[in-house]
Amino acid sequence: MLDLWQYAFLQRALISAIVLGLTCSVMGVFIVLQGLSFVSAGIAHGAFAGVALALLLGFNPLLGAAGTALLMALLIGQTKRRGQLNLDASIGIVFSAALALAVLFIGLMPGYTADLMGYLFGNLLAVSTTDLWVSIAVGAVVLATIALFYKEFQFTAFDPVMAEAAGLPVKALFDGLLVLVSLAIVISLKAAGELLVIAFIVIPASTAWQWSSSLGKMILLSACFGVSAAVLGLVVSYYLDIPTGASIVLILILFFAASSVLAPQRRTVRRKRGLEVKEV
């Protein structure tokens, strides 16, 4: 096992996997609890369209991804506020538009589009030192923001009407959450790919939810599932010589399937034992 980590590209891949696993899985808790998984898919498609546009016009793909992901987040926030359409219907429209634009930009590109395919499916082993530092910096900002506004995000996710009645800036918090998701998606794009980053956000949180009776516990478990799947997936992909992204997602699916079988029994047992009492 030790010889695996002697290569610099594998060390970068490992650190990158841990950063992405941690950032996306913690972020994912607030997305999944509010039923916004489809929002993360919409933003990821928007980010991909931005990468295609950047490659077509010849500027940094990460900047393109960040620009369109944030634009997508603002559009979704605005649509929710106007309330003329259901949120999922409006995301579906914006989502389709982003995908159509991505296909259009790819069609306009001359020659082979291997770079673009890398952003679609991701490649952890191709992460550069600069990519890694950007991921660490942005991931730290995302996690620090969640830690700072933990109680506000908790309250608005649980009961937005009451949170607004208590004077919390619910609309700004929702927009802020979408911006954080956009940032998490953008830094994960090169390593995990547009299609797999959604799994990184949705599956660890959904798995953790089955075991959790408090938000703190759900965040901790989601982070554990995300990071351990990322590390295990990388190791498995190295030894079995299979694509890293697919390996990580399949391990996440395995965690989810195992929890679906095991967790409900545990809940039943807890119910039968009666409700626990804790001193404050």
Binding site: D159, A165, S213
Partner: protein, 256 residues
């Protein structure tokens, strides 16, 4: 405490309340009754300053019109239970603690004082042994009592209750109403409660209002419990009968 003077409220072009006038004095227990879509929840949101009236004057706890949102920290609000997801991973204690977040403001974490107060509020609603119980594991009546404990955090002067007994069984409805009534007397709270079921609170209310887009009547229970008037409000045949000295409303055909 609360004063509405010819108030109009709407969402965009959709008018929900028109020419609503009423006043609630300190210490009163006021009940607003009306059919679905009559604007009851909108009226509560107007008092909370979540919706601004298009016309008329509103005063809440000394704050008028645009200043109404500043009264929020003196108001306890119990929303309809259907708006919270019982599967959300949160304990009963966490839910009650949320009642302090508005007063704490952004970035400040609840400290020992808030935690002690949350435990005390849970004790007041009879759930002191359920501190660490997951919210979703509690019965409907217990969840509603947890939300009531949250509304009591911050020692409010005014309590707004939005259909607090909806989706509860008869026994839980009765227990909750008794609890609310007792807490209001102990804490000298002013209460404004909106409900479908006038029978539950008819003997507790100081005043009853009938809302159907506008305030059709607003007075003491004995004066407004009029069968002809109620039939007109609900669009169904309604009788008012007296049993053991208390008035009861019966909906539908009645055969003696």
């Amino acid at each position: 405490m609360i004063s509405f003077d010819r108030v109009w409220v709407g969402y965009g072009r959709q008018l929900v309340l028109s020419e609503v006038s009423f006043a609630v004095a300190p210490g009163e227990f006021v009940v607003l009754v009306g059919p679905n879509g009559s604007g009851k929840s909108t009226l509560l949101k107007t008092i909370l300053g979540l919706i601004r009236p298009t016309r008329g004057d509103v005063q809440v706890l000394g704050y008028a019109n645009r200043e109404v949102p500043r009264a929020r920290h003196q108001i306890g609000y119990l929303p309809q239970i259907s708006q919270v997801d019982p599967k959300f991973p949160v304990t009963a204690f966490d839910v009650v603690l949320m009642g302090s977040y508005g007063q704490l403001g952004l970035l400040r974490r609840p400290g020992p004082a808030q935690r002690q107060q949350a435990a005390k509020c849970l004790e007041e609603v009879g759930l002191s042994t359920y501190l660490s119980s997951p919210f979703g594991f509690l019965s409907g009546g217990q969840r509603q009592r947890v939300l009531l404990a949250r509304a009591l955090m911050g020692s409010p002067k005014l309590l707004l209750l939005d259909e607090p007994t909806a989706a509860l069984d008869v026994s839980a409805q009765h227990d909750l109403v008794e609890l609310i009534s007792r807490l209001c007397q102990e804490r000298s709270l002013t209460v404004l409660m909106v409900t479908h079921d006038v029978n539950l609170i008819v003997d507790k209310a100081d005043k009853i209002g009938y809302l159907k887009g506008t305030m059709l009547a607003y007075d003491m229970p004995n004066k407004v419990l009029n069968p002809e008037f109620l039939s007109q409000v609900y669009g169904a045949k309604i009788l008012v009968v007296e049993h053991d000295g208390q008035k009861r409303v019966i909906v539908g055909d009645y055969h003696a």
